[in-house]
């Protein structure tokens, strides 16, 4: 097993040198999310050795760890205290790190009810493009001192800073969970998910796969019995496995080389008329589409619905893969990038060309 180590100053030196020379850096943790974002070239900056849990105080509901810490190590430590990362991040491989997870901003099936990766970030220590080590946020639940830079890092794909240490809010694991299945076509599944989401039910996941709507309920045993009585449906035996496979994209739906799109839309958006295969998650708010349809068609459909589309896997990774930004917003992105990384050396182009 690799030992815990603080290589912050080493990473700082590398960033400083790169800034001075204008060398592009390609930030890497466990390499499980290389598929995501745009294809970039650059000198590897290996954050994977910067690892170790720095503090976990169960009664404070906070964990702080170095960015290179394997996600699995964090989840094991939390599970020992009957706690969890409530945004349920997918790992996409055993070597996934905390830093990569936060840089990508991935959240799992629990997201609509518990919150996203960025919702759970309390603080971060980062290296900006000047090679300065900066701390933002902290280890407490409520903190409004200064601009919220730590949450800005989530989903920025390392283009604004190299994540060094991250503090996250953690939550107790639910006492019990139960998954229920309902045979429903997609449009009726969308309606049902949204109808139940309006009611005070202990929902923690809702996805439509094939011709089945799966609902997960979480909480005290008594609450689950009451909810089951209201919802009906068929109990699913290995519910945990189902949600893990969905989250890790290990279901049959995700197989094959056809491009995989992620559409983030208002949850009650009617079933969308784009060619391809669909899988609906997040109670309707996250829709996966396997298709060869042109990017512009997909982006237009997502935008019309009031959302956005991401080319999640496959397709042309040299072109833009994230939803195009309107001009003033794109300009703001460039100026923000400039304010953190004026030499443009941190993962340049990973998020959008020119960032």
């Amino acid at each position: 097993m690799t030992r815990d180590a603080d290589i912050g100053t080493e990473l700082q030196e590398t960033v400083r040198t790169a800034t001075a020379r204008g060398t592009a850096l390609h930030i890497r943790g466990g390499g499980t999310k290389d598929f995501y974002g745009r294809q970039i070239n650059g000198q590897a900056l290996d954050v994977g050795k910067h690892r170790g849990i720095l503090a976990h105080e169960p009664t404070e509901l906070v964990i702080t760890a170095r960015a290179g810490t394997p996600l699995a190590e964090i989840e094991t430590a939390l599970a020992e205290k009957n706690q969890m990362l409530a945004f349920e991040p997918p790992a996409f491989g055993p070597s996934a790190t905390l830093g990569g997870t936060i840089a990508c901003g991935f959240s799992g099936p629990r997201r609509p009810w518990s919150g996203s990766a960025r919702d759970f970030v309390l603080g971060a220590k980062i290296l900006n493009g000047h090679g300065e080590i900066l701390r933002f946020g902290g280890q407490v639940m409520k903190n409004v001192a200064g601009f919220d830079v730590s949450r800005l890092m989530v989903g920025a794909l390392g283009t604004l800073g190299v994540l060094l240490d991250i503090s996250l809010k953690v939550l107790p694991r639910p006492e019990a969970e139960q998954t229920l299945a309902f045979a429903l076509p997609p449009d009726r599944a969308i309606a049902a998910m949204n109808e139940w989401s309006r009611q005070p039910l202990p929902l923690s996941a809702a996805a439509h796969v094939g011709d089945t709507l799966y609902i997960r309920i979480s909480g005290a045993g008594s609450a689950l019995r009451a909810a089951r009585a209201r919802l009906g449906g068929e109990p699913v035996e290995k519910g945990d496995e189902l949600w893990r496979e969905l989250n890790e994209q290990q279901r049959q739906f995700f197989e094959g080389r056809q491009p995989l799109w992620r559409l983030s839309v208002p949850p009650a958006t009617p079933h969308m008329a784009l060619p391809g295969k669909w899988l609906i998650d997040w109670g309707g708010a996250q829709r996966w589409l396997k298709t060869d349809a042109p990017a512009t068609d997909i982006q237009r459909a997502a935008e019309t619905a009031g959302g956005h589309a991401t080319l999640f896997r496959g397709g042309d990774r040299n072109a833009e893969v994230f939803h195009p930004l309107p001009q003033p917003l794109a300009a703001l992105h460039r100026r923000l990038k400039q304010s953190f990384d004026p030499a443009g050396i941190l993962n340049p182009g990973r998020l959008y060309a020119g960032l």
Partner: protein
């Protein structure tokens, strides 16, 4: 070391007379206030100890007018301070003497309640509570509930990232906003998100939330609505020491409960509240805890039974469960009136807003007691115990010479104490003008420099709420008490005053 009020105002930017002429051409007569008498109501926000008359007050009625005001101010180099309902507690809306006070109180329409997607889209001047009222017929509500919720506006809530008593379970404003429209300093309208759960690109929703009016002017907000829990029930527990109450909080959390509300009051706060609203609080207790569980009916019943047992095991001298909804509301009434109740004990009170890791509560309260005696000013404490957000209330008399200065000094010391134990100077009220000096304690030179660089990406000429929230390095050098990390003195390259 000056108090914020004694600070030299930044050099006046630009030409006010020319701006006034320009605005007169753009806006109806009643939308501009220029006489001292008309401007007086805008001289302070909820932090009334700090007052200053604005150059002029603009009251636009629509986004187009806001855009024109911004463009004119930008062109003439005149600062803009945006104001919502003026209930902020950190002087974030303190006017700039040469600037425009931009009041968004007339942008107050509820644009849409979408019960199916569970969102509300509103203009920034809509009151926090009005959103929940509008959503109530659908069985939905807006979760963040700052204690000023009957008056405070959602635009101000977003600008300050306001909290409330339900944050541990339901989050702050940042966790409940899904869409924003804001105007840049150039008057460009930018839309972020809508009813989907996330946005493409950088998370500007998170960045704009809590940015204290320094990055843009928020003109439309879309928030998440949640189904109203089937039932809420509260338990009141009395303790003969603050330590025991603090330990009980840790045990409740460690047992897997995330209470909807978990509040603590110390003895001076208990007595003040009981004197004021007579809700039957145990006035001999060193501390009381209010623990509210919400959820489905059975879940709450089971939970309350377990929490009662935990509290008794932790040495509570008394544990009461509200018999009915009326008693539940009475138990909360004492807590919710704590600020005005404490306010009756002295001519003025000053509310602090630090957050600390909960385990340090006993130490922090003891040190606050010592500082209180040292400064000769009484302090009562109310505490969002679940999330570590502490509100010490300092009692003083603004008419007594030197009292305000001693209060500010004591307040500053308390905030520095919060930083020292690993906490922060503000949990939910914002930095504004009030805590700007303490920002020098919490952040290092490079971090403040990064904040300024970030700000300049939005507002290169410091037009929007200048001089608030992020201190200049010169100010920090002058302030004297500075961020020390790893034993190194910061600002080595700056002259000392």
């Amino acid at each position: 070391m000056g108090t914020p009020l004694q600070e030299r105002t930044p050099a006046p930017h630009g030409n006010q007379a020319a701006l006034l002429a320009a605005l007169r051409a753009l806006l109806p007569r009643e939308a501009l206030l220029v006489s001292e008498e008309d401007k007086r109501p805008y001289e302070c926000d909820g932090l009334s100890a700090y007052r200053r008359l604005p150059g002029l007050v603009a009251l636009p009625e629509n986004i187009e007018q806001v855009r024109q005001i911004l463009r004119a101010c930008r062109e003439h180099g005149v600062p803009v301070v945006t104001r919502g309902a003026g209930t902020g507690l950190s002087g974030g809306a303190l006017p700039h003497p040469e600037g425009v006070l931009l009041s968004l109180s007339k942008l107050a329409r509820i644009l849409e309640i979408d019960p199916v997607n569970r969102t509300a889209t509103v203009e920034p001047g809509v009151r926090n509570l009005a959103i929940s009222e509008a959503a109530a017929p659908h069985g939905l509500y807006y979760a963040p509930d700052p204690s000023s919720q009957i008056a405070c506006s959602i635009g101000g809530n977003v600008a300050e990232n306001a909290g409330g008593v339900h944050c541990l379970k339901y989050g702050l404003t940042v966790h409940n906003v899904v869409g924003l429209k804001f105007l840049t300093v150039d008057g460009e309208l930018i839309t972020l998100g809508g009813k989907a759960l996330d946005i493409p690109g950088y998370d500007l929703l998170a960045l704009l939330t809590g940015s204290e009016g320094m990055l843009g002017v928020i003109v439309e907000v879309t928030v998440k609505l949640l189904p109203k829990p089937e039932r809420a029930q509260v338990v009141l527990a009395a303790f003969d020491s603050v330590e025991k109450a603090g330990d009980a909080v840790a045990v409740i959390i460690a047992s897997g409960f995330i209470p909807g509300g978990l509040e603590m009051m110390d003895n001076p706060a208990i007595r003040a509240a009981e004197d004021y609203v007579k809700v039957g609080y145990p006035v001999e207790a060193a501390a009381i805890l209010l623990c509210e569980l919400d959820g489905t009916d059975v879940e709450v019943s089971d939970g309350i039974a377990r929490v009662r047992e935990l509290l008794l095991n932790q040495g509570a001298t008394e544990v009461r469960t509200a018999k009915d909804e009326a008693e539940r509301l009475r138990m909360w009434a004492g807590r919710k009136s704590a600020f005005p109740a404490v306010g009756r004990l002295a001519p003025d009170y000053y509310c602090m807003d630090g957050t600390i890791p909960r385990k340090h509560l006993a130490t922090v309260l003891r040190r606050i007691g010592e500082l209180s005696r040292e400064h000769g000013l009484p302090v009562a404490n109310v505490f969002h115990a679940g999330d570590g957000n502490l509100h010490p209330l300092i009692l003083y008399d603004a008419n007594k010479p030197g009292d305000l200065e001693r209060t500010e000094e004591l307040g500053g010391r308390i905030l520095e104490l919060c930083v020292e134990v690993g906490g922060t100077i503000t949990g939910e009220h914002g930095v504004g003008m009030e805590k700007i000096n303490q920002m020098c304690v919490q952040f290092a030179q490079e971090e403040l420099t990064q904040f300024h660089a970030l700000r300049h990406a939005f507002d290169p000429d410091d037009i929007l709420n200048p001089g608030k929230a992020v201190p200049t390095l010169a100010r920090c050098a002058e302030f004297g008490r500075m961020h020390v990390h790893g034993g190194k003195l910061p600002f080595p390259d700056l002259e000392r005053f």
